[in-house]
């Protein structure tokens, strides 16, 4: 009786045909990489958020801009995105302000451009590898389905050689093949969920950075003429 055969997951995987095994191995690799990036991105996003919180607190507590700039420039490697935006803008502003024939509006414009460039680099850094999660989410079910279809094709081909067809002759083959779909779904579902969540989190962080850029431009504009020379 085929039904009493061992249907444990290991025997199912080991009995599958070569192509199905390859598909499973590929999917397990994809799944591993997608989980790796899920964890790394979540650490990176959490870190960016907490540093943004910390810097906002320092910035709005009314400290000296020069002191903030010094600490940001000294501790570059641990600086968060907002701190780097501030550093780039302030550095550019100070440089331009030192020139003779440049008025405040031009200096503030230059500072904004510098901040925007840094902002885009930071957002790009945060968003890197999200595309991998997105394509894992959309493609791995299809890869799994391919393995399943192939396995089921083999199961039915084997069935055609048998005179008397019973469910017990096809069932193990189909169960084997379905393992591929299961692995594909296991890779895809968390990737899709994580992609959506990360995209949302990054949007919120970048909005905070953008509004900080506007507010900081205003501060620069206000203090510009007084400090010039």
């Amino acid at each position: 009786m085929n039904l009493s055969e061992d249907l444990s997951i290991i025997s199912l995987v080991l009995n599958a045909s070569l192509l199905v095994k390859l598909v499973m191995a590929l999917l397990i690799g994809i799944s591993f990489m997608s989980w790796y990036w899920i964890f790394r991105k979540s650490f990176a996003i959490r870190g960016a958020r907490s540093r943004t919180d910390k810097f906002e607190l320092e910035f709005w507590s009314g400290g000296d801009l020069n002191a903030l700039f010094q600490s940001a420039a000294n501790d570059r490697h641990n600086a968060g995105g907002m701190e780097r935006i501030f550093e780039a803008g302030y550095r550019e502003f100070v440089k331009l302000r030192g020139r003779q024939n440049i008025d405040t509006a031009t200096a503030v414009d230059g500072a904004r451009r510098a901040m925007r460039a840094t902002y885009q680099r930071e957002v790009d850094e945060l968003e890197s590898h999200l595309a991998f999660l997105a394509s894992t989410g959309s493609v791995s079910p299809y890869i799994g389905l391919f393995g399943t279809v192939w396995g089921i094709m083999n199961a039915f081909r084997g069935l055609s050689n048998v005179g008397q067809a019973t469910l017990a002759q096809v069932a193990p083959g189909i169960a084997e093949a379905l393992v591929a779909t299961a692995i594909g779904l296991f890779a895809a579902i968390p990737a899709v969920v994580a992609y959506n969540r990360f995209a949302h989190d990054i949007d919120r962080i970048s909005i905070r950075w953008e509004s900080f850029m506007e507010e900081f431009s205003n501060i620069l504009q206000r203090q510009g003429p007084g400090k010039a020379q």
Binding site: L3, S4, D6, L7, S8, I9, I10, L12, I28, S31, F32, M33, W35, Y36, W37, I38, F39, R40, F43, A44, G47, R76, H77, N78, A88, A117, T118, R121, E125, G163, Q164, A182, F186
Partner: protein, 273 residues
């Protein structure tokens, strides 16, 4: 700036690798155990009590060697010249029936007979079972022939020939008897298996008997559809028997492989023993 951006620390590289590995380990364990659990459930046990059947068949063995002498007249009923070959035919068709027992017993009694009349009566019962339709006419013919046979055999020549033949036949019949009892045992096994799968239609009663032709593979599985050679007279019961045979595939194999036949004619009594 660009250099600076490239140099930035990568937080949690190893941490995430370890976490991802742990995640997959968890999934693997979960799959392993959950799929295991499912498989342990469907293990149902089917028990067939077959061993008691052969004991019923066993008493059959002693009788055949004795009645050998007697049997010669009997096969004459259908094919006069070759008495021994007729028997295997019957043996194969009849295996499942325990009837052979009663069949054999009546013979020894009529044996010492010079009188033909008493003999036909016990014999009558057997033809009922095997060659069905033209009962009465055959009976009469058989009686006549038997009479003549009995007369002629009393002549000395035949007595001598018979004596030599008898020895052969006894040996043959002994082998035949063993074979037949094995075939009977096999038939009983098959009947028991089929009886376990049959769903009797309502209103089936009495002790109907069906003759079913089954094509078998050497492993006992049924090829194609079994055919009803002789109906029980109740179409619903016939269908139930055919369905039960298909459902019982593979049928049990005989203990003695030489008994196996590809095209088996099974006499089956769905209600009786």
């Amino acid at each position: 700036m660009r250099e600076h951006a490239l140099k930035r620390p990568e937080p949690g590289k190893w941490q995430s690798a370890v976490l991802a590995a742990g995640m997959h380990l968890l999934l693997g364990l979960f799959l392993f155990y959950s799929v295991r659990w499912q498989t342990s459930k469907p293990a149902a046990v089917q028990v067939e009590l077959i061993s008691s059947m052969p004991t019923v068949a066993a008493p059959v063995r002693p009788p055949p060697p004795e009645p050998v002498v007697e049997k010669r007249p009997e096969p004459v009923v259908e094919p006069p010249p070759p008495p021994p070959p007729a028997k295997p035919d019957i043996a194969f068709k009849e295996p499942p029936k325990p009837k052979p027992v009663p069949k054999v017993e009546p013979k020894p009694e009529p044996k010492p007979e010079p009188r033909p009349k008493p003999e036909p009566k016990p014999v009558e019962k057997q033809p009922d079972v095997k060659p069905a339709p033209p009962d009465t006419r055959r009976e009469i013919e058989a009686q006549d022939r038997m009479l003549k046979e009995a007369m002629t055999r009393e002549s000395a020549e035949q007595a001598q020939r018979e004596a030599s033949r008898e020895a052969d036949l006894i040996a043959q019949a002994a082998a035949e008897g063993a074979r037949r009892s094995a075939a009977n045992a096999w038939g009983d096994k098959i009947s028991a298996r089929i009886r376990g799968n049959i769903v009797l239609p309502p209103g089936a009663s009495g002790n109907p008997e069906a003759l079913v032709a089954i094509a078998l593979l050497p492993d006992g599985s049924v090829v194609g559809e079994p055919r009803m050679k002789r109906s029980t007279g109740n179409p619903a019961l016939d269908d139930a028997i055919l369905r039960a045979i298909v459902k019982s595939s593979p049928l049990p194999k005989p203990d003695d492989p030489s008994v196996f036949v590809r095209n088996l004619d099974l006499v089956f009594r769905p209600l009786g023993q």
